[in-house]
Structures are given as C-alpha cells and as structure tokens.
Symmetry: C2
Subunit: 233 residues, 2 copies
C-alpha cells in the first residue's frame, strides 16, 4: 500500500492561523517536505516549526533563485522522485505550503508530477488575501460585489482593465512592481482607496496607504483596493 501525498496549507504566516487539521497532520507526520529559496530558509517550515516533532524526516526542495523556468522545474523533478520513494514505501508525505496549496502555491508542481500515481489530499489554508483584509480592517466583498485577484507582474494595460471591472481588487506578489502598480491605480483616480500591506499577520507586518508605500516592496506584499463597498446600514 502506497502512502498519501498531502498538500497542507499553512495560512499567511502566523502559526496561530494554521487549521486544526493541518496542525494534526504536521505534528504526527513521519515525512514532511517543503521548498527553500536557494537552499536558505524555508518560510513554510518556519510557520510550522513548533509543530514538527523530533525525528520527523525532512525533504528539502531547494528551488534556485533564477527567472529561468528549467532550473526550478529540475528541483521539483528531484523532489518528486524523493517523495515518490517515500510514498512507495508506504509512508505519508506532508508537503508544507505557505497560504493555500492551490492558490499561487508551488505545491502545484508536485501535484502535477505525482497525483496520477498516488492518492493525494489537499488541506486548504487561509490565503493572504483575507488575512490582509482582516489586518487592514477592510471588508473585501459583500452581497453581489466582484473580487478580482491579480498578480503584480501583469502588464499595465491588463492591470488597468481588470481593476476597472471589479469592486474590490487584491494585487499579489507586488515586490519590484510597486511603482508600476501605483501609477496604474493613481491613473484610475483610486489611490486614496488603496492600502499596501507586507508580511500580513507576522511580527514584522507593515501597513500603509498605497501613496506612502516603500518603493522596494518584498515579494510577500499586497495591495488591496476597495471602491467603497456599501455598508447597507
């Protein structure tokens, strides 16, 4: 009997926002797997650190920092082989995922390689989108409002068109695209309704009006924009 591959969402960063199910799976795991950036720290492992029991086997997925596609995908090829060996030996493998595994998560690369051969189960997690809304106290969407989620690297005309078509917009992966995104939102006359958030729910969290956001934003940053939801009082 082969083991089961679990893709486990850990939420936005605060370990207290891990679900009961994820916490139980991690604390009783025989084998865990997680990505690291260029062999350095793993944000996913850091979120779950207090739940990992001594003696748990750890499979590190060392993802190289390069814009090229092939080296990262080779890292997932290697990891998928290690994970497949553990699954074939009858062990369950708990893959730690920042946020939610299927919401811009790198777990998808393992899922694509392994889900046709092994049982898989996905444990959803709190996404950074609702975590940022909670921290900034900005209700996202009510009643029949539309929410659009956009990655910051999209081109300006695409961002403009999509922002125009929704009451609320969350722009992910802001990072070095901040100036471009700010120009787009300013051009639409919406800058006073936009808030910048980095590292939501973590001790180093930072929140400011978009107009005062730093020019060099980290990867884990977001812009939330709401066009004045009707509070229906």
């Amino acid at each position: 009997m082969s083991g089961t591959l679990y893709g486990v969402g850990l939420g936005p960063g605060d370990p207290d926002l891990i679900t009961l199910k994820a916490a139980r799976l991690i604390s009783t795991a025989g084998v865990i797997a997680y990505p690291t950036l260029a062999g350095g720290e793993s944000f996913a492992r850091a979120i779950a650190a207090n739940l990992i029991a001594p003696g748990t086997r750890e499979i590190r997925i060392d993802v190289p920092m390069t814009p090229a596609r092939a080296p990262a995908q080779q890292a997932y090829d290697v990891a998928a082989k290690d994970i497949a060996n553990a699954l074939e030996a009858g062990e369950n493998v708990i893959c730690l995922c920042e946020g939610d595994p299927f919401f811009y998560g790198s777990f998808m690369y393992l899922f694509a390689r392994l889900s046709d051969r092994f049982e898989t189960e996905i444990i959803p997690g709190v996404t950074s989108v609702t975590a940022c809304a909670a921290r900034t106290k900005m209700p996202l969407v009510a009643r029949n409002e539309r929410l659009t989620i956009l990655p910051g690297p999209l081109p300006e005309d695409e961002l403009t068109a999509r922002i125009e078509g929704a009451e609320s917009v969350a722009i992910m992966k802001v990072g070095r695209h901040l100036s471009k995104i700010r120009n787009v939102i300013d051009g639409l006359g919406l800058i006073d309704q936009a808030t910048y958030i980095e590292r939501a729910s973590l001790p180093e969290e930072r929140i400011s009006p978009l107009a005062q956001a730093p020019d060099n934003a980290p990867y884990f940053s977001m812009i939330l924009l709401t066009k004045g939801a009707d509070p229906w009082l």
Copy 2:
C-alpha cells in the same frame, strides 16, 4: 474598559478547518454571537458546536428570510445593541462567521455598526473558494494567472464579460441562478472545464461536472472554472 469585538472565520464547514486561533477564542469565550436563518438553525454555530463550552452566553441574530433590505438590517440593529451592551460591560464578544468574516460575510453589518466605538479584531478563515479547489483537486491559479470571484446573481452580460477576463473563475452563491450561469459558460464554450460543488468539506458534499449539476442548487454551492492552467512540467 470595554471588551473587544472579534469577527471569527470558521472556514467552509468542516470543523477541522477552523484555525488554532479561532478554536481557542471560541472555547474560552464568555459571550458568542451568530446569525440564524429565520430563527432556525445556525450554520456558523453548527461548525463551532464542539468548541462551545457549557455556560457560554449566546446572542442569536435572527435574520428574517426576505429579499427586502430593511427587516434584515433591523435584526442587525437589535443584535448590535445586545453586543454593545456586553462590550460596554467589559466582556469580549466572539462573533461566529461561516468562511471568512470579510469575504461575503454578514459580520460586515456588525462591523459597520460597532467598529467606530469598540476595539475589533478579525480572524481570517479558510474561504469556500480554496476549499472547493481542494476538494475537486483543481489548482486555482499559478504564476501570473488571474482569479475572478463572482456572485451568481449578477446579470448574464456581466458574468460573460468577467469570465472572459480571467484564467480562473469562482462563482459563489449559485443557488437558483444555476441555469443562467450554465448557459453563460456553455455559450463561451467552457462547460467542459467547469465543475459544480455544493457544501464543500461537509459530509453531504456533492461534486459533479457542471453539465450534470442539479437544476435546484442550494445557496452554499459554487462553480469553479479553470481554462487549463499550464502545469509547467
């Protein structure tokens, strides 16, 4: 010293998808509040039931079943008064919210009435969007893909335009709008990429291709549509 108003997300329905923080707040609460539909069952309370300690004071918000705006808002006026009294007496009040409080959640009506007078804290929860993706094993968005979240009651032309502008679409609150939505998706030639899910993560969960979905869908149902995300192998 007044108490704090907590809006606590409970996730999509499986009590195991409650976060550690929400579980702790609920199990140690002195006062909880939750909506009920027309004085009947409360879905929110049912999700949290096993965490509620004996002797916890419960404030029921009996929301009438009517399309009119005023009666429901009067129910929130009444509840806001009860909750304000508890907060003024120095008690914390834990409001139980299906899913996430700021993601189509009725907690927003209490937040709008009370957040200017009392300390508030929002605990984000797992939304039905990522829960449905997890259960159907459909990765939602990767890399620079766009996700649009639409409420089913929107008119056909609006649904059509928004579906065309995103790689992945989640349509919430399907209910009696199912035929209309199916026609729109069929007209766009996308019906084979669409999946219907009701009551995700609960024992009575039901998943089917959209083409075979029931004509009478419950309120807690969703359609997920992905236009073939690139697995990047």
